[in-house]
């Protein structure tokens, strides 16, 4: 059985990040006893050949649009007998999966967080009820799924050198007349420590203080959706299902209640430290270390300790 991975290198993605995605999917394919090929969608001028494994097809695109990308992949799939297509995590991953499912009449699951193969049968798991419930789906071949938060697999695949083929983009993009970049967010690179702020922080200045501290110390910073909706942080700083998914070694949550939509964004943290006044908040049982106190009593000491420890 042969699988196709579709990965995208966005403007702010490092090749290493996408390479890690490919290795994780390759490990999964090995566990499933499947062979695989990879299509990498990117601006072909910035592609580095050295990082990937197996047969790799480079699809260079100029217009960023899920229907355009899906159209190119449909063209690529002609006469190729893939039994499953896995779309790697990206803003357009769900779009591409559904568009491919319709065009090729494949069974489809979006936002998959776990995959199991038992014999010829595949079971995929994703969230529903705003990330509060796991739902399992049994899918028949051929299928297409968009994969979310699959950062590694148990099986390591190393040493198979990439064999690269460059594809020519031919899909008509007449409906889109022009494209310009309005805001380039170059700060999305994930760090080993994340500070996450919630509505329990009562002053805008305190949010700014934590943001500045994180930025000057090389840490990641983010907020819950309500904080961004209040206008105290930008939309690109939202953590969770409608924002960025982080996987830091240490995540510090301050004044966060712990809604499921937010928690998905920090779930992969190695250690979650929580500062909250409410002992019954959902986040408490979902954290490793907890300080029950007003953040105002704790914040300055916490930042000082972080600063001292990282500079030692």
């Amino acid at each position: 059985m042969r699988l196709l991975f579709v990965l995208q290198i966005g403007k702010n993605d490092t090749v290493q990040k996408v390479r890690k995605q490919q290795r994780a999917l390759a490990g999964l394919a090995t566990e499933f006893s499947c062979d695989f090929d990879t299509v990498i969608v990117c601006d072909a001028t910035c592609f580095e050949e050295t990082s990937f494994i197996g047969d790799v097809f480079i699809l260079g695109i100029k217009i960023l649009n899920p229907k355009t990308i899906a159209g190119e992949i449909v063209r690529f799939l002609k006469d190729k007998p893939y039994q499953g297509i896995l779309i790697g995590e990206d803003t357009f991953a769900n779009d591409i999966a559904v568009l491919l499912a319709y065009e090729k009449q494949l069974q489809c699951i979006t936002n998959v967080i776990d995959l199991q193969r038992i014999g010829n049968s595949f079971t995929f798991t994703r969230f529903a009820y705003s990330n509060n419930i796991y739902v399992d789906f049994q899918v028949r071949k051929p299928f297409v799924v968009s994969v979310r938060t699959l950062s590694s697999s148990k099986t390591k695949v190393e040493g198979i050198r990439g064999n690269y083929t460059y594809l020519e983009s031919k899909t008509n993009t007449d409906a889109i007349r022009g494209q310009e970049i309005v805001l380039s967010n170059d700060e999305i690179v994930q760090k080993e420590v994340l500070f996450a702020c919630g509505m329990g922080i009562r002053k805008r200045e305190d949010i700014q203080k934590i943001r500045t501290f994180a930025q000057t110390h090389g840490f990641s910073f983010g907020v819950t959706r309500p904080v961004a909706m209040r206008g105290w942080a930008s939309i690109s700083e939202i953590i969770g299902v409608s924002g960025t998914i982080f996987s830091p070694k240490i995540c510090v949550t301050i004044g966060v209640s712990g809604s499921a939509a937010f928690y998905v964004g920090i779930e992969n943290s190695e250690c979650i430290v929580t500062i909250n006044t409410d002992e019954s908040a959902t986040i408490i049982s979902q954290s490793d270390r907890v300080i029950i106190d007003s953040y105002e009593n704790v914040l300055d000491h916490l930042l000082t300790q972080f600063s001292q420890t990282t500079h030692e």
Binding site: G10, K11, D13, L64, N65, K67, T91, F92, N94, D95, V98, L99, L106, C108, I109, T110, T123, R126, A128, Y129, S130, N132, I133, Y134, V135, D136, F137, Q138, V139, D174, A175, I176, R177, G178, Q179, E180, I181, V182, L183, V193, M229, I235, T244, K249, I250, S259, A260, E267, V273, T282, S285, Q286, D288, R289, V290, D293, N297, V298, H301, Q305
Partner: protein, 260 residues
């Protein structure tokens, strides 16, 4: 020009604690006691469409929902706010995991009421299928712009749209008709109608459309549901303030930060 906006009223699941979620035999979760709210992406879509209407002459706006009679309270508000049409599809049928049925129902309505701009939310509870906008664009063979955060009038045949991709913002000029899948828009809160607006709209009526049942050929139905186990160590410090922070670093964070 006309714009078609879908909206969904769903239980406010953030009010429920993880421990309160119980999966029932018929693969559902009892949420009847929760207040209903507008899906966050739909709320942005509705407000942005109203603002869009303030810049475009003779823009005809339609709000469309599939849901229970209680949804009509919000549809009445939308009529008061200036939507020319508010359409409800009544259903007793479980459409949670049937995006093909939802998309076919929307397209069925659009067949008789063609639109220039279709604005749909990225996803909505309870199913969180994240597939309706893409299916509608496919069924109608229209361009799809995804992760939209803002849009503005350009001319009668095109629109300027801003979308995000991996944290960066892009702007494109797109020909109409087309489908937008809305994401986290900066404009996120729907305005409230004034009493005068409500009085003015009291004779406006909600329209009704039929559900178009479609087999789930592409999207299989669930075979199981379960509650994720998110429990961690949850070690609560007995200390406060500076002492608690010192203890936290001595017991745990110092070692972890050294590894970093």
């Amino acid at each position: 020009m006309n714009v078609f906006v879908t909206c969904k009223f769903c239980p406010d699941l953030d009010r429920m604690k993880q421990s309160d979620f119980v999966v029932q035999e018929e693969m559902g979760v009892d949420t009847h006691f929760l207040p209903n709210i507008l899906n966050c992406y739909d709320e942005s879509s509705l407000e942005l469409s109203l603002r869009f209407g303030e810049t475009v002459k003779n823009l005809e706006k339609t709000a469309f929902t599939i849901g229970p009679k209680t949804s009509e309270q919000v549809l009445d508000s939308l009529l008061a706010l200036g939507f020319e049409h508010a359409v409800r599809v009544a259903t007793e049928y479980d459409v949670r995991f049937r995006p093909e049925t939802i998309a076919a129902t929307i397209c069925n309505y659009l067949h008789d009421h063609p639109q220039d701009l279709l604005v749909l939310g990225r996803e909505a509870p309870l199913g969180n299928n994240a597939a309706t906008a893409q299916l509608v664009a496919s069924y109608l063979n229209l361009p799809l712009i995804s992760a939209v955060v803002d849009f503005s009038y350009r001319d009668e045949s095109s629109i300027s749209v801003t979308f995000q991709h991996e944290g960066s913002l892009y702007r494109q000029e797109v020909s109409l008709p087309c489908v937008f899948s809305m994401e986290n828009a900066t404009i996120s809160k729907l305005r409230m109608p004034t009493l005068r607006q409500r009085m003015k709209a009291k004779n406006c009526t909600i329209e009704y459309a039929q559900l178009e049942q479609k087999d789930s050929s592409l999207f299989p139905l669930p075979i199981a549901m379960r509650i994720p186990n998110r429990r961690r160590l949850s070690s609560i410090s007995q200390k406060k303030g500076k002492d608690a922070v010192y203890e936290l670093f001595e017991k745990d964070l110092k070692k972890r930060l050294e590894e970093v």
